[in-house]
């Protein structure tokens, strides 16, 4: 009873210390904005890459130059057709002197399969590559059609883009845009990874700081180290839970009003169909966050107890970080094949289930039964890890200076 009260008093202190700090407010509010920015900014920058690109066309076929010029001008590039006999050397010099971005060389036999080559300082840009490839293909196909004597209206009908879409489903759920499903699930997993890492490391740092500020001796004289560790994890985790809840709420609101928001930016139509996130899915995300956090926080607390300064933590936490990174690397695998056996195995292993299972479930790859089994495994292993961590913590918190070896750690576990 007393231990429980101690634990809550300690948890309250840890929680308030975090929630009251300016950084907490800043990260809570700006975190999602930052995440969105991380996705959007590169896309925007990439999109800008092609606008106004100065491209010269060396047309030795005599037919492709003009229509390609029109298409490029439509795409708001700044094309120019130069005489067909212009040698490459001169064009290369113009690139070197920043006169143009690049030039397209169209050989005489372009319609018959000769290679159309673009050389330019922006050829590494995805947008430039895709745009040029598309436009050149359209022009070449249209010219081939003319050469074959196909009337313009029939040609347009043949060349019209087919309407294609990919939707994600497991046979039970309604189809949703594959891309959007992946993005949502990926975001969830990534948020879990970030919060678990952020707050797990927070627990570790908090333990190390108690050592460096020497308050540890007062604390272990006052309460059981077990209560201290549990309170710390609870308090730090509580702060994390507040943060992830705010983030999820912001995400949900954004999704609910996304048409209005997109409209404000001048985008109409609302973009691709998003998978709806049900309350049950949110509950599972939060449950996995809590369990995953307790699991990793216990490990991090033990790591904190093993070292005596912030510098030392870098090395000792490496194996833990590796475990988490393996989880992140598996995200792609889960999203590619949520129902595959590798996915099934990874979402059962406690090191990774907290990160991967919510994604797999949202993608419809796991049944509720599988979720239940994975949660059970995670709960049992969290209890075991927490017990072991408490023992390491009990002995380790007052160690200053030397770091224990593996043999010594095993001895601590037997205490």
């Amino acid at each position: 009873m007393r231990d429980l009260r101690d634990m809550f008093v300690i948890a309250r202190r840890e929680f308030l210390e975090r929630v009251r700090s300016k950084w907490f407010a800043v990260i809570t509010v700006l975190g999602p904005i930052g995440m969105v920015a991380m996705v959007l900014v590169p896309a925007l920058i990439a999109g800008q890459g092609a606008d106004g690109a100065k491209v010269e066309i060396v047309d030795r076929s005599g037919v492709i130059g003009k229509p390609l010029f029109d298409k490029l001008a439509q795409a708001r590039w700044k094309p120019a057709v130069v005489p067909a006999e212009t040698p490459d050397r001169i064009e290369m010099d113009r690139i070197r002197d920043h006169k143009i971005n690049g030039f397209v060389t169209i050989p005489a036999d372009a319609l018959g399969g000769g290679q159309i080559l673009y050389r330019g300082d922006n050829a590494s840009s995805q947008v430039v590559q895709v745009t040029l490839h598309q436009l050149v293909s359209q022009v070449v196909q249209a010219e081939r059609g003319k050469l074959a004597g196909i009337p313009q209206d029939k040609l347009d009908a043949v060349l019209a883009r087919p309407n294609f879409d990919a939707q994600h489903t497991n046979g039970e759920t309604e189809g949703a845009s594959g891309m959007a499903s992946f993005l949502i699930a990926y975001m969830l997993a990534f948020i879990l990874y970030m919060v678990i890492t952020l707050y797990g490391v927070g627990v570790m740092r908090s333990v190390v700081q108690e050592k460096t500020s020497r308050v540890m001796e007062l604390m272990v004289a006052t309460v059981k180290p077990r209560s201290l560790m549990a309170g710390k994890i609870l308090g730090v985790g509580g702060a994390g839970l507040v943060q992830i809840t705010v983030w999820l709420a912001m995400g949900a609101i954004t999704l609910a009003y996304r048409e209005q928001i997109l409209g404000a930016f001048g985008v109409t139509g609302g973009g691709p169909a998003l998978p709806s996130i049900a309350f049950g899915e949110v509950a599972i995300v939060l449950l996995y966050f809590i369990l995953g956090f307790f699991f990793y926080a216990s490990i991090y607390a033990a790591v904190g107890a093993m070292v005596s300064s912030e510098q030392d933590t870098q090395q000792v936490q490496m194996p833990v970080t590796m475990l988490l990174v393996i989880g992140v690397l598996c995200l792609q695998m889960i999203s590619n094949d949520p129902r595959g056996s590798a996915s099934a195995i990874m979402t059962m292993v406690p090191f990774w289930s907290s990160m991967l299972m919510p994604m797999r479930y949202v993608l419809g790859g796991a049944t509720l039964g599988e979720v239940a089994i994975s949660i059970a495994i995670l709960v049992v292993s969290t209890v075991l890890i927490a017990r072991a961590a408490a023992k390491i913590y009990r002995v380790g918190v007052l160690m200053y200076g030397k770091r224990p070896g593996v043999r010594e750690l095993i001895r601590w576990l037997r205490y």
Partner: protein
């Protein structure tokens, strides 16, 4: 009434090093009890075992009414650790309240008493500052408040004078006197004998993990005085010469040394076994020595300590006592 603390046959080793080697002592209620010893004697290790920070390898600790070290005993104990340390980012008042709550006070009560302690220690206007914004001396006071906030029956202070300026040392002495006056018990450790002598009722001297002696300070002093240490002063040069010859007699005087610094005596002698101070005085008078000063020396705690532990053990600790 049960003693405030009973320690029996306490042993604690770290690897091959035996830090505490079969130490026993008993602290009665309502006294100020000092554990004295040079650095590395095992004082802090002993106090840590009483505070349930280390588990003893052998022996027994009974706190107050039959409690073992642990969370129940912790409610009755106040502790000033040798490693001073507080949460640097916490507000001063909240830090004290926090420990008060963990030591069993209700939150409102902890808050009320914190206010009183901040006033008492002259920190009233610092309550809402962060601990890290305070000077070392002020942090020291906050640390004291965390040890006393819950009015514990047993107050354990590990090296309480280290880092204290003379004014705060005086505040500490007042607080210790108050605790004793209210019938509660203080157990402290130090190597600063002069500070200890001003406040202790009883002591336990330990060195290299072993107990050297313990008991009531007055009894100890009388016992040591009975060993026959006499401080002498002579009227003139002729008397001094006469006395020198007399004091060289090994049957009468076992040892002769220079007077202590600041003493106006000519010399200090230790009587041979079986010789009383009375006999020495008679011998001097008979020889016609003009005696200006004749005092049976009651040794200071420091002297007892040096005599028993050996001067070598205290060399390192001398400096702070002078300062």
């Amino acid at each position: 009434m049960t003693p405030a603390l009973v320690v029996r046959g306490l042993v604690k080793a770290f690897g091959n090093h035996v830090a505490v080697d079969d130490i026993s002592f008993e602290v009665p209620r309502g006294v100020v009890y000092g554990i004295l010893g040079p650095n590395g004697a095992g004082k802090s290790t002993t106090l840590r075992m009483i505070n349930d920070i280390f588990a003893p390898d052998a022996g027994e600790i009974v706190v107050l009414d039959g409690l073992r070290p642990g969370s129940e005993a912790a409610q009755q104990i106040g502790y000033l650790p040798e490693e001073r340390g507080l949460y640097p980012k916490m507000k001063v008042a909240e830090m004290i309240e926090f420990i008060g709550e963990l030591r069993g006070l209700a939150r409102a009560e902890a808050r009320r008493r914190t206010g009183a302690w901040l006033d008492r220690l002259g920190l009233a206007q610092w309550g809402s500052n962060k601990v890290q914004d305070l000077s070392k001396g002020m942090q020291q006071k906050v640390q004291f408040a965390t040890a006393l906030i819950h009015e514990p029956q047993l107050v354990i202070l590990d090296e309480p004078w280290s880092g204290l300026d003379p004014i705060n040392a005086e505040v500490l002495r007042e607080v210790v006197d108050e605790i004793r006056a209210s019938g509660r018990t203080v157990l402290f450790s130090t190597h600063q004998m002069e500070q200890a002598e001003k406040v202790v009722d009883s002591v336990c001297i330990i060195a290299r993990g072993k107990k050297i002696l313990d008991g009531n300070l007055k009894d100890l002093k009388q016992r040591e005085a009975a060993d026959g240490l006499v401080s002498l002063g002579f009227g003139d040069a002729a008397s001094r010469a006469t006395a020198d010859a007399l004091l060289a007699d090994r049957a009468l005087v076992a040892d002769r040394r220079a007077p202590r610094a600041g003493d106006v005596a000519d010399c200090e002698v230790k009587l041979a076994d079986g010789v009383t101070a009375q006999q020495l005085l008679a011998a001097l008078v008979t020889a016609g020595v003009s005696v200006r000063r004749f005092e049976v020396v009651v040794p200071t705690l420091h002297q007892i300590f040096v005599d028993r532990v050996g001067a070598s053990a205290t060399v390192a600790e001398r400096r702070p006592e002078v300062a």
